[in-house]
């Protein structure tokens, strides 16, 4: 019917606008990373590099940049694995088991999640400083779980609650211990939620700037966000390299999202959509 056709046309028009709004900045960044400095600072920007070059990437490779990548990978990977694992078993206990103090603990975890990073960063700096761990990856691995654990536990509690108990009950009747049902039944069932939580957690650690900023000042321990802002010296922005570095910083996370894409959508609404 005509109404439907007009509605569809409007939708397509809006979609087009959204695509331009979303993709143009990213395209522009990729575009810039392949231009030489001379062309970048040209008065008239070019939609496609007139002088296609990989020199920016070459400069990046020969600099410390990949040390930063390694640091970020190490920290984000370790923290994600440990943090999500511990959060999963805690979330299982809170959502499926009865024990004294259950309500208090779950409320406390939610409030812990609400504490802004802009309040936590100073206490955490002091903790790291007292432990003499400043300028080390250990420090980051120690404090990044404060980003991961409250969020992951909260989401996973809600997620576990949506998983029906029958399969576990059946396993229990068949003689499994509680611990066995946790690892053999509950966790496999919750895999999509756990996966998407892990991806979000990795992204949080990968992208943290504030904590790393106050804790790491020595170059060899810097993470990617710090490394990128280092490409700015005083007022001079090395835009070609910045663009390349920024793109590079995005690739691992993008890869993760692509691999886990089917988990993301289900995980995001965990517990929020009833029934």
């Amino acid at each position: 019917m005509r109404e439907k056709r007009i509605g569809m046309l409007i939708a397509i028009a809006v979609l087009l606008i959204l695509l331009i709004w979303t993709l143009f900045p990213i395209y522009w960044m990729v575009n810039t990373s392949f231009k030489p400095d001379a062309e970048i600072y040209n008065i008239i920007p070019t939609l496609w590099p007139k002088q296609f070059t990989t020199i920016n990437y070459e400069k990046l490779i020969s600099s410390n940049f990949f040390t930063y990548v390694g640091n970020s990978l190490t920290v984000a990977g370790t923290v994600t694995v440990f943090g999500v694992f511990l959060s999963t078993i805690a979330a299982y206990a809170i959502s499926k088991l009865r024990f004294r103090g259950r309500t208090v603990i779950s409320q406390a975890i939610i409030y812990a999640y609400l504490i802004p990073r802009s309040i936590m960063y100073i206490p955490l700096y002091m903790l790291v400083s007292r432990l003499n761990l400043l300028n080390s990856l250990w420090a980051l691995m120690l404090i990044y779980p404060t980003l991961v654990i409250p969020y992951a536990t909260w989401i996973l509690i809600a997620y576990f609650k949506t998983i029906p108990n029958n399969l576990e009950e059946a396993a229990l009747i068949d003689g499994c211990t509680r611990l066995q049902t946790l690892f053999l039944v509950a966790i496999p069932l919750a895999a999509p939620g756990i996966m998407s939580t892990a991806i979000f957690s990795f992204t949080m650690c990968w992208g943290d700037h504030l904590y790393a900023l106050v804790i790491i000042t020595k170059d060899s321990f810097k993470t990617i966000p710090l490394g990128i802002s280092d490409l700015i010296v005083d007022d001079l922005f090395a835009w070609g390299q910045l663009a390349g570095a920024a793109i590079f910083a995005a690739l691992p996370v993008l890869l993760l999202y692509m691999l886990g894409s089917k988990y993301i959508v289900t995980g995001v609404t965990a517990g929020a959509v009833k029934g």
Partner: protein, 307 residues
């Protein structure tokens, strides 16, 4: 029937699982006590010391915020900026997110590809998105100014991040660009659970599009929208790096949020106790903003958590 279910659930949960439960939650609880609670307590004590950490001055640092004229000016400026920033960012993200969801819900060919593309800003790290936009905004070689000049909207170069009025707007724009897809995806999932037959029936009954949206769509997405908005608000309030990397609080502190002001006091001026005092003043703001959603969402959480 209901009683039977309840008995089964109690049996399933079981009281003799306490030891197992405690083992499972112990790591998380111990970690949070040691790495979150203890440092916060230390910080509270530190906030009551003087700049050199040699003497105990009780609430002097807190009073300083309100009594010292320039401190109050900076603080109230930062507070105002934070409220404006958060309000407009969350509002913008919700609005844009709902639009994204509505569009992606249509039966357009290649939907999945577009969904992945529109999710891109959310997936790339904050640093990347910040510098992407910083480059667009740049007054030397930046594309946005060029486009505006070429299309005739302005006559001279626009310094997006250096002018008071446009600086805050520019920051909000980046935040909305980055965060809207998250809300879009969340709402989309809820939209996709709505049976088409409902819309058909409504149309047959003569309901027009706005009416359909109000009576059918909204109730279905309310829960998800509420939860996503709450989470988004928390994340926006948490935001330090985006604004700091874009403007460092310039020009003339027009974009200095509370988090940036606290950083300035603590690390640029070297007065850690005062910085802590300033950042703790952030708490009322957080609680106030979250309270808007708290009634609905936290109560739901205690449904989940308390059982």
């Amino acid at each position: 029937m209901v009683a039977q279910k309840k008995v089964r659930r109690l049996q399933f949960e079981g009281a003799n699982n306490s030891r197992l439960a405690l083992c499972l939650i112990a790591p998380v609880v111990i970690y949070l006590l040691l790495v979150m609670l203890t440092p916060i307590l230390w910080a509270i004590i530190t906030s009551m010391q003087n700049k050199n950490r040699t003497e105990f001055v009780a609430f002097e640092n807190y009073a300083w915020i309100f009594t010292n004229r320039s401190a109050w000016r900076s603080f109230s400026n930062a507070l105002g900026n934070t409220l404006v920033y958060t309000l407009f960012c969350v509002g913008g993200k919700v609005l844009l997110g709902v639009i994204i969801a509505l569009v992606l819900n249509q039966q357009i060919k290649g939907r999945n590809l577009y969904r992945a593309l529109l999710l891109l800003p959310w997936t790339i790290p904050t640093v990347t998105s910040v510098f992407t936009w910083r480059w667009l905004y740049s007054d030397v070689g930046g594309v946005l100014s060029y486009l505006l000049q070429v299309s005739g909207f302005t006559t001279e170069r626009v310094e997006w991040l250096a002018t008071n009025n446009t600086a805050m707007l520019s920051c909000i724009l980046v935040n909305v660009w980055r965060g809207a897809p998250f809300i879009g995806i969340s709402v989309l999932s809820a939209l996709q659970t709505i049976p088409h037959s409902l819309y058909e029936a409504a149309r047959i009954d003569g309901a027009n599009a706005p009416r359909q949206f109000h009576s059918i769509t909204l109730p279905y997405i309310k829960d998800v929208l509420g939860m996503s908005s709450l989470v988004t608000t928390i994340w926006t309030l948490n935001d330090f790096e985006m604004v700091w990397l874009l403007t460092r609080g310039a020009p003339a502190y027009a974009t200095e949020l509370l988090s940036l002001y606290s950083y300035r006091v603590g690390f640029s001026n070297g007065n850690l106790p005062r910085a802590i005092a300033v950042s703790f003043m952030f708490f009322p703001v957080v609680i106030a903003m979250v309270a808007v959603f708290t009634n609905r969402s936290l109560r739901k959480e205690s449904d989940f958590a308390g059982g």
